[in-house]
Amino acid sequence: MTTTTPAPAPAISRLRRNATPSGKRRNGNLIVGLVLIGLIVFAAVLSAFWTPFDPEGVFPQELLLPPGGEHLLGTDNFGRDVLSSILRGAQISLIVGVVAVGIAAVLGVPFGIVAGMNPGRLDQFMMRGNDILLAFPALLLAIIFGAVFGANTTTAMIALGIGSAPSFASIARSGTQQVMSREYVQASKASGKNGWFVGVKHVLPNISGILIVQASVSFGIAVLAEAALSYLGLGTTPPTPSWGRMLQDAQGYLYVQPLLVVWPGIAIAIAVLGFNLLGDGLRDRLDPRMQVKR
């Protein structure tokens, strides 16, 4: 219901009198975001070849060791090295993010472009459908899918992807509407180009910026959702290390080793912060006239 309501004020696009002379703003966001994401990617890649200890074994003689010494961040209730689990956990977070965002973009973007290019009944119809899907938050969808198909990483990724598709559709649609109102599209049509050409050659390149921003933000949301699902026991199944499940395990030992919740917590926050900052930084670099409200 909300998405099809045209945001009345302020206008989406207009010449900004007070805009900075050029697009050159401090782009600290972009740099910090990239550094944080780089850290996570590095952890994921590194852990594929090497971790300090085996993150999937059980070591009964080394339970709940405090940080320091051989185990830099200590061990958990199964005696597993926390650092190793955190490094390996980056893999699941990134995989879930990539697959979920991929699904969301593949479903949502063409849907939004088609709706945006066909104002009138088709657009209305498609956007009502989109609104209905928006009433099912991604995480709720993941819980339902978990109940129906069994809870595991694959189910979670697909559910999060489908659940994030409507926001891609909304953004693609409003971007498309802006592009369609431009005279170069009129010129293209007037020289006999069909909708397919306009969609691929004019619309897609011009909305790619806002889509990349949306992908970055959705990536952060997917990482967060995977952590929440695993925390609830509806995501990644043991023994694969996952930050969310580490939190769940750690919560049971709060009175014994409270630091155990801190490490996976920091990892989640770094990943989400990284993608949020990247999204903000990219948005700043975009042409301000193509900004679309989320």
């Binding site: 010129a187 007037a190 006999g192 004019h202």
Partner: protein
């Protein structure tokens, strides 16, 4: 730059005002005075610094810009450049007031307009109570000639038209009887007839109250209507200062000379071309450089005896354009009827729109008439102008003629091809024969494409090499170098972008060129260049030109025939000069008389 030394303290005195951004100096020491009750125009092209001057006076410069120098208002308020925010707040809206360009966005959309007018009085406590402020607001709305002022006071801005909103802004600005009124392009966004009314209103109210006026505009015709004195700005300097008549009839500075020549679309040289300011649009020279350049004997401002002629009417049409007008709104008149097979034939063309959402839940959606029965022909080689104000249906007509929209009734045939109900695949030939040049130089080129792709877009079934060759040739034909094809549109100025648009339009060798307000977004000097180019190309390619515009001056220059569109109908059509000199229909008469023009004043100079 000098001002008359009068014993009376000037209302506004600006001395050596400079404005700097982090990168450059934007105003280079501007000085001028405005005497009490004097109406001064400040003209210049975009980027000349005229708006910066006004915002500096108001103390409303963006934080990123810094002003230096001195600004004084009569009455000993101290130097405004260095005044505190609270001191300035006391003066704004009270001693000095400002009306802005965009009537659509300058009012708070969530507040009733009466309350917005009343606020300026309660803010400065110029009326004793809120109630009396509201009553006075209604009075003021009556003074700016809003119909039903009491009702209008309760309206929200979106319920008013652009002209009405600008009246509200004016009522607001004058509420506290300021000494000085600043107007920043207040009528630029309005239709000509509305503009004429608002200008008359501003002049009347200001004269009546003895308010000093600083009127900023790019249109020298507007200045001639409202002001007594005019300051000409160029690249951050005031280059000329004199009475309106002096400046128009006997400009001193070379820039002013060139500007006035370029503004006057009825004056052409012996080759039928408009005077242009011979400067590159990318790097404008400074005032001094320009002066030096233009004083050189070879420069185009070297005395050319202007000849009054409308070049297009001398074209090689082999029939006499009839001058017709509509006497009865429902009568069917076929305008500009061509015997035999005209290039374009339009018959009983209608386009209705259904507005979404009726007033009742299940009632039928109301129908809005975009066009209500158009009949006209366009002969091959004719330069056909369509002039109309916003809402007249001219954009709808343009879209129909280019088959970007379907008519709801009637027919359009272009070289025998019927457009109404035609399938896209039948239009293939039509598409290559009819091309458009749009208004917005920013929006008409895809920012993600390179110039080569843009210009080549209309081509189909052409090899890569041939396509490139044709692009290069076409770019050269519009006065651009071949190597621009590797650049993106944002690297070009407005005039250059319009040239690229024209190149794109001509690459398929069309027979018909549709120009949709093609020069309306350009500065005067660039406008003249683009119009000359268009005119040359129409000759060179033997095009039939369909020029849609709100600007009568432009149509008069570019077209041999003009159709006046009002409320979805053609009300008058005929040879351009004839229609302008002897308008038959009342609407055309109103339109012609509302158009600000300097040709009368300038003409006086030559006689």
């Amino acid at each position: 730059m000098t001002t008359t030394d009068s014993p009376i303290e000037p209302t506004l005195s600006v001395r050596n005002l400079t404005v700097n951004s982090a990168f450059a100096e934007l105003l280079h020491g501007v000085s001028f005075d405005i005497a009490p009750g004097e109406r001064v125009g400040l003209i210049g092209e975009s980027g000349s610094g005229k708006s910066l001057t006004a915002t500096s006076v108001m103390g409303l410069l963006p934080e990123t810009l810094a002003a230096n120098g001195e600004i004084h208002l009569a009455g000993g308020h101290g130097d405004l450049v260095h005044a505190s925010e609270s001191a300035l707040s006391q003066l704004r809206g009270n001693t000095m007031a400002m009306v802005f360009q965009e009537p659509m966005t300058a009012l708070n959309p969530l507040m009733r307009v009466g309350a917005q007018v009343a606020e300026i009085m309660t803010q400065h406590r110029t009326v004793p109570t809120g109630q009396s402020a509201a009553a006075r607001a209604v009075e003021l709305l009556a003074q700016v000639k809003l119909p039903n002022p009491a009702e209008a006071a309760l309206a929200f801005p979106h319920q008013l038209s652009g002209g009405q909103r600008q009246r509200v802004m004016l009522a607001m600005a004058l509420a506290n009887d300021p000494q000085l009124l600043l107007c920043d392009e207040p009528t630029t966004a309005l239709d000509v007839t509305v503009q004429a009314e608002v200008l008359r209103l501003i002049e009347g109210l200001v004269t009546e109250r003895g308010t000093s006026l600083l009127f900023i505009t790019h249109d020298i015709g507007v200045v001639a209507e409202v002001c007594e004195r005019v300051l000409v700005m160029y690249k951050g300097d005031i280059v000329e200062d004199g009475t309106v008549e002096q400046v128009i009839t006997n400009p001193q500075h070379p820039y002013t000379k060139a500007l006035i020549a370029a503004s006057n679309l009825s004056v052409v040289d012996e080759r039928g071309r408009l005077h242009t300011i011979a400067t590159s649009a990318i790097t404008l020279p400074t005032a001094a450089e320009l002066a030096a350049a233009l004083e050189e004997p070879a420069a185009p401002s070297a005395p050319i005896e202007p000849t009054i002629a409308t070049p297009a009417s001398a074209s090689t049409l082999d029939f006499v354009i009839p001058h017709q007008h509509r006497t009865d709104p429902d009568e069917r008149v076929i305008f500009n009827e061509v015997e035999g097979e005209p290039l374009i034939r339009v018959r009983d063309l209608t386009r209705q729109y259904k507005r979404r959402g009726g007033s009742k839940l299940f009632s039928k959606a109301p129908v809005v008439h975009g066009l209500r029965g158009l009949d006209f022909d366009v002969a091959k080689g004719q330069r056909f102008g369509i002039v109309g104000e916003s809402g007249s249906g001219k954009s709808t007509l343009m879209r129909l003629m280019c088959a970007l929209d379907e008519p709801t009734g009637g027919s359009i045939t272009v070289s025998g091809q019927e457009l109404a109900g035609a399938k896209e695949r039948d239009l293939r030939d039509f598409r290559s024969q009819v091309q458009i040049v749009f208004q917005d130089p920013m929006g008409s080129l895809d920012p993600r494409m390179k110039v080569e792709q843009i210009v080549a877009e209309p081509l189909r079934g052409v090899s890569r090499d041939e396509s490139r060759e044709r692009v290069i040739a076409q770019l050269e034909s519009v006065g651009l170098e071949a190597d621009v094809m590797h650049r993106h549109p944002h690297q070009f100025s407005g005039g250059q972008r319009q040239r690229i648009s024209i190149a794109r339009a001509l690459i398929t060798r069309p027979r018909v060129l549709v120009a949709d307000e093609a020069v309306s977004a350009l500065d005067v000097s660039v406008r003249a260049q683009v119009l000359n180019l268009l005119s040359d190309l129409v000759d060179e390619y033997a095009l039939t030109l369909l020029f849609v515009s709100h600007d009568l001056g432009v149509i008069r220059h570019a077209c041999d025939t003009v159709a006046v569109l009002s409320d979805g109908r053609i009300v008058e059509c005929g040879p351009t000069d004839d229609v302008y000199d002897n308008p038959l229909h009342p609407y055309t008469q109103k339109l012609v008389s509302a158009t600000p023009s300097i040709s009368e004043l300038a003409g006086r100079a030559r006689s």
